[in-house]
Symmetry: C2
Subunit: 326 residues, 2 copies
Amino acid sequence: MKKVMNDPQNIVQEMLLGMEASAPGFLKKLNGFDVIVNKDLKEERVTLISGGGSGHEPAHGGYVGKGMLDAAVAGPVFTSPGPDQILEGIKAIDKSKGVLIIIKNYSGDVMNFQMAVEMAEMEGINTDFVIVNDDVAVGESSQRRGIAGTVFVHKIAGARAITGASLKEVKETAQKAINNVRSKGIALDPCILPHNGQPSFQISSDKMEIGLGIHGEPGIKQTEVLTAREIAEDLVISLKEDLGLETGEKIAVMVNGLGATPLMELQVLFNEVAMLCQNSGIKIIKTYIGNYMTSLNMAGLSLTFLRTDQDLADLLNAPVCTLSFR
Amino acid sequence: MKKVMNDPQNIVQEMLLGMEASAPGFLKKLNGFDVIVNKDLKEERVTLISGGGSGHEPAHGGYVGKGMLDAAVAGPVFTSPGPDQILEGIKAIDKSKGVLIIIKNYSGDVMNFQMAVEMAEMEGINTDFVIVNDDVAVGESSQRRGIAGTVFVHKIAGARAITGASLKEVKETAQKAINNVRSKGIALDPCILPHNGQPSFQISSDKMEIGLGIHGEPGIKQTEVLTAREIAEDLVISLKEDLGLETGEKIAVMVNGLGATPLMELQVLFNEVAMLCQNSGIKIIKTYIGNYMTSLNMAGLSLTFLRTDQDLADLLNAPVCTLSFR
């Protein structure tokens, strides 16, 4: 298998140590736990934690820092972190003003993060949580997965938290972002898992998958490889319809690479998205193009629309200091 | 072939239009030319231009903006831009204080950029140039390729230029950065070229290449796939020896992904690099981990060391506003 690694058993720990070493000024790995925290956490305020299986870097450690997350818990590759790890993260950032937990909607994550919430409450820590389910490719919203739109939720909730808002207010802001964010992805080729060298799904050399999840969960359909224009049309129509976007509304856009997609291709795709939005009278107020929520070395991308009012736009634009979001 | 694109003939233009649309506040594509310029260029000062073949994104358009490049010229994929394109970029940013051209050391780039310099001089524009040759994998320094270390040269020269320094001073600063920067790369798998769907080089499924260039030029040797620790040792020793780094010296480090390498692997590699530097008494003052100078979807990475004094450190840390460097 071709991976830059040592023992696959240690890949997550070594990644976190590398992350800590790259930003010694503001990041710290909790000793004995796979948790990255903002070490510069001085204010008495609501704090934020997220996380999930590893393999989605820079999610979530890359979003820890002033104005965004205060801690990120990293499970094994594509596997939810255990409640004990999450609890340790919650305890490390608790400032007695409440801790908001941002969970991506996967059954393992929901179960383990909610268990950690209960454990934290038993230790007297005031907590609450939100569940991100932005992936329109999966039918009912209760079953929808959390994918790249989660990054906008981190940013917006984090910007609210540093204003000194209450736990209830920060949760309401996070939920408002969730209510206004939708994503949909496509994949050209699977990723290779570090522990067994196997591809995350099977696909022939002339096909692509629409609606695939970030762990290789099945998509809506397989099709021949579409052009950038056709892909953009499919994704934009899905997001617009699901959000009920109308002429004159404003959005932030993320074109997210899944790990092995050249930036050139993401920019070509965005060029189509920008034209489609212009033709529909939808105004793009801010654009993010790059690898934000990956799937190891999967080839493909997702498109995220966040409907913004002035409040959400201001929170998105507020100053932030993390490794991977600005 | 699996690429998110429309017609491969238009991929560079569509990429540049997407880049412009993603940053309408400060980037502009020159009409009719494959050149991205900083549209917010008001000061009368020395300006900077770089570029080369496309396929290395975010190089070079991602480095255009206040405090770094003023223009980037994008040739066809892996092919030097023509002198007319380069000349147009030079003319667009000329503020009568001189234009510095930063060239990566490839014969096509050197020929075409120097020809553009001559054409600009004939039009009365004061220009000068530097050539970046940071790749220690190729023997004599005059033949050494310019790779990821070029990004540090852009940043440092750009930070000097906005202080109002003269063309001679900006060139001297760029040359000082070049004299103190070294890089070396490894590749696990080739990239796929958009115009013909062919891999950029051949390699078997159990081998890796050491010292490969960013266009798939042959490396120093093929070997079995090494561990992250072994790769780090090879790269660190090469860079240290070539720079003549001694205990107590300070460096900035870049771990650069070639396009399809998960961030996880780059961070694992950096963890090893950080330990090796610590053991040698070399102090890392700043770290950059990510995709800075890619080769489409090549799997692999390069390591860059920049030896810093207070002057270079201050220039590296000076404020900057670009899409892809901060």
